[in-house]
Symmetry: C2
Subunit: 557 residues, 2 copies
Amino acid sequence: MRTHENLLSIFALGGINEIGKNMYVLQYSDDIVIIDCGGKFPDESLLGIDLIIPDLTYLEENKEKIRALIVTHGHEDHIGGIPYFLKKLNVPIYSTHFTLGLIELKLEEHRLIRDTKLVTIDSESKLNFGKIHVSFFKVSHSIPDCLGIVFHTPEGNVVHTGDFKFDLTPANHQSPDIHKMAEIGKEGVLVLISESTNAERTGLSPSEQMVGNHMNEAFMKAEGKIFVSTFASNINRVQQVVDAAIKTKRKLSLLGRSMVNVVSVAIERGYLTLPEGMIVEAHEVDKMSPEKVVILCTGSQGEPMAALGRLATGNYRDVSIYPGDTVILAASPIPGNEKDVSRIIDHLFELGANVIYGSGSTTGMHVSGHGYQEDLKLMLTLMKPTYFIPIHGEYRMLYHHRMLAESVGVKKENTFIIKNGDVVDIENSIANQTRNIPAGDTYVDGISVGDVGAIVLRDRKQLSEDGMLVIVLTLSKLERKIISGPDTISRGFMYVRDSDDHLREINTIVKKTVKELNEENIRQWNVMKQKIRKSVGQYVFTHTKRKPMILPIIIEI
Amino acid sequence: MRTHENLLSIFALGGINEIGKNMYVLQYSDDIVIIDCGGKFPDESLLGIDLIIPDLTYLEENKEKIRALIVTHGHEDHIGGIPYFLKKLNVPIYSTHFTLGLIELKLEEHRLIRDTKLVTIDSESKLNFGKIHVSFFKVSHSIPDCLGIVFHTPEGNVVHTGDFKFDLTPANHQSPDIHKMAEIGKEGVLVLISESTNAERTGLSPSEQMVGNHMNEAFMKAEGKIFVSTFASNINRVQQVVDAAIKTKRKLSLLGRSMVNVVSVAIERGYLTLPEGMIVEAHEVDKMSPEKVVILCTGSQGEPMAALGRLATGNYRDVSIYPGDTVILAASPIPGNEKDVSRIIDHLFELGANVIYGSGSTTGMHVSGHGYQEDLKLMLTLMKPTYFIPIHGEYRMLYHHRMLAESVGVKKENTFIIKNGDVVDIENSIANQTRNIPAGDTYVDGISVGDVGAIVLRDRKQLSEDGMLVIVLTLSKLERKIISGPDTISRGFMYVRDSDDHLREINTIVKKTVKELNEENIRQWNVMKQKIRKSVGQYVFTHTKRKPMILPIIIEI
């Protein structure tokens, strides 16, 4: 790799061609600043994997150059990888008061809080890391205290938007710093790095105010208990629930661990305003008059073990849903969760609840936190960048975002649609993308990170589809006579009742195979096992059309 | 069970609280008529299951009473279970010319064609099964030749709508028989059984004509090759592709087995009109001028091994997508398939294709085949039923459908929201739901049907998440001394490189456990295995946070 002297480099270690595990890096000479460290939830093909985090190889190899991890906001896809990151790299973390509150919850769980340096900043802070000078601006999003970042470098200014929308009537005064953004643009932006989540959606994203209005209407009409499920971190929405509850003289109860934790952080740190004595414990709810209480609960993504999932199946200890109660789903299903969410809606209707869901403009209880096409164009227009790097999206979103940039005057050849690991190098204010560094998915499975490879996943897949057959056989060392077995044990294959005949037949096949091997004087274990796998596999597939894993175990005595 | 003499009974064996495996049954005295026999695709929790079909217990117990299987149309959720049904019950099948064509494809594959009686009917046919007289009416849907059914019984008339929408400008003259429906309603309908798929969607479903218009516009603009992916069975849409191709002087190529098979059936049977010589073979496509060809392909649901999936990753042998080609996704993702479809769209954009997707009103290339709320209200209004049974939907859809019925005058207490297996009995024109018969999911796995039970699935789940540890140990019969082993073999657990230390430690734990068992003089195998599982399980969970299946195998010699 060439020397980094006076070179400005920008790359992603996660967040490109995916929604999740956001991690972006800016390096000038020998100073590295990291932006965000997110996690991503695995899809169902990654059997048994708990979380995916970015590949940290490059950072580990350059750890003496890392000056800071700056976190734009507290969503999982921006902070979920932090505990695993800190176990390898002890880097100071800079973020806002609320975001650090959420990070602290994570660090406590992983017992990392004592050894980590956390620095509280706000949109007026200025930081210096070598020749990189950093300032900030406020953006609105579906969580409080979100930052956009300006990196002032000798090559020029680089702006990272964080996740944003332009909500001019947000809850809780979380207005975007439009004047400041205009100034930044006027000063000159060499590179704009901007999020692309909703680049396919036309128009301007609707305001959180719409949710507030619909929430008030629904609360006015409701006669029984009201349940509202949303992301705990969407404190602005929680505030609107609180406000609607105050107006209709209802107390508030919180169900679900993350709801209790995050709301506590928000209250402690001053991001949520509610009158004293408003919160009641879960076990008091069923003793109260139903029209006197609203229950905020986790589980808006259809998770069967979260509060709403358990309420829907009547499995929540302290609280029940009765006919006439109202349930509001104030969140949209994340792609992949649609079926789980629908299942819960079905259960709620079966319980006789009045269920309000969907994001229509007449009753919708959810708006996206990510700007639509007109929001993205406004950001591009304000910043007037020379170069543009769309981030935080699948390829089709980056592609549409590039078209938006072109439509407001960014030269087509000045937009870089990169991959994770592709490095955009800037020297003498000219940007090029010619090299790349290691990037990819690191799997977290249990307490170990990165040790689940392709073979383990391939085995899990085979086991998951047709189970396994373990064939145990003891042979005498010299004459290769069968002393014990063969015994075939199956798991995940088929009913024992139905498979008995097959298992007997398999044992016969194994005996025959061993006899043939003896006749051919083949004694290598690998060859013997291979032959057994083949002959048994053929029999099994012919008779059951299944391909279980076949594991021959030969013991010599 | 009480006698069936003069009793009219209606029930579902599938299709309620689900989308899939539709099967409805009408019984009068000792005559049973079955409507549809669908399959359902399993979700990812049913590891290794290929297909789900209805539980046929009741029908097998009453097989001498079954007179007919009438099939309303040829979609998988209405015909997918037929081969498995026929293997147990040899019942004559009545359906339209096109639907029987699709059923024949299935029966050929399962070698059932010779022994099955297939009877071609149309909307003018009249059938008699005991005291049940059957007539039909045409409905429009996203496949040709769809039927609604009228059962004239001594108790009154029962109408089953099949799947339908009111499309007044359909392709291929598949107009609904509105006049006939009005007559049926005028004659009097005791029970209406109507599908509920889109009962949550407001308004009237858009016409297939919209797709035709957008298709023509896109074909006019396209410069390179055009790829269109849709359900093969949506012959009306295929016809619109053919028409747009003729207008723009393009030939047609078909990719994917089901596209070739189903289009052949449609042409042979007269449901698709195209000029001679229009179809070109796949291997000729890349030799043709790109603006002279359109390729119809399977894979609109994101299936990675279907034609579009392989084209998107550059793995289709004969045909490639080049920059400037147009790809039209003329289908919506079925819930659960969104992520797979998105992945393919990303790949197509990366190849430089102009991708047209989504179902907006300006460029949308898909309309639903199922009626929206106004369609459903029109059917209810035409039929004016005394009793109403909403079918073909999840609970929330049935619930909304009941509200629609109420809104047009069906008494609330006269709507039966049933479950699969719930029987609605009608005697002296009074309907009651008090009893039920066996109903549920039967799993097809490989060639066997119904033998995959809860234990097998539970084992597959455990194996899929954390793999397994097989611990083999040979003991002497008398002294219980360890002769060989313990040896621990892992699959799907963790990298061998990382697990070596763990496996050694596990062997030590097993030795220690055997020693303790000997000291306590415990010789029962079950107890020994249980102890080994427990001690090893504790160690593994503490050190890896995983819970692999632990399978101790003890051999006595």
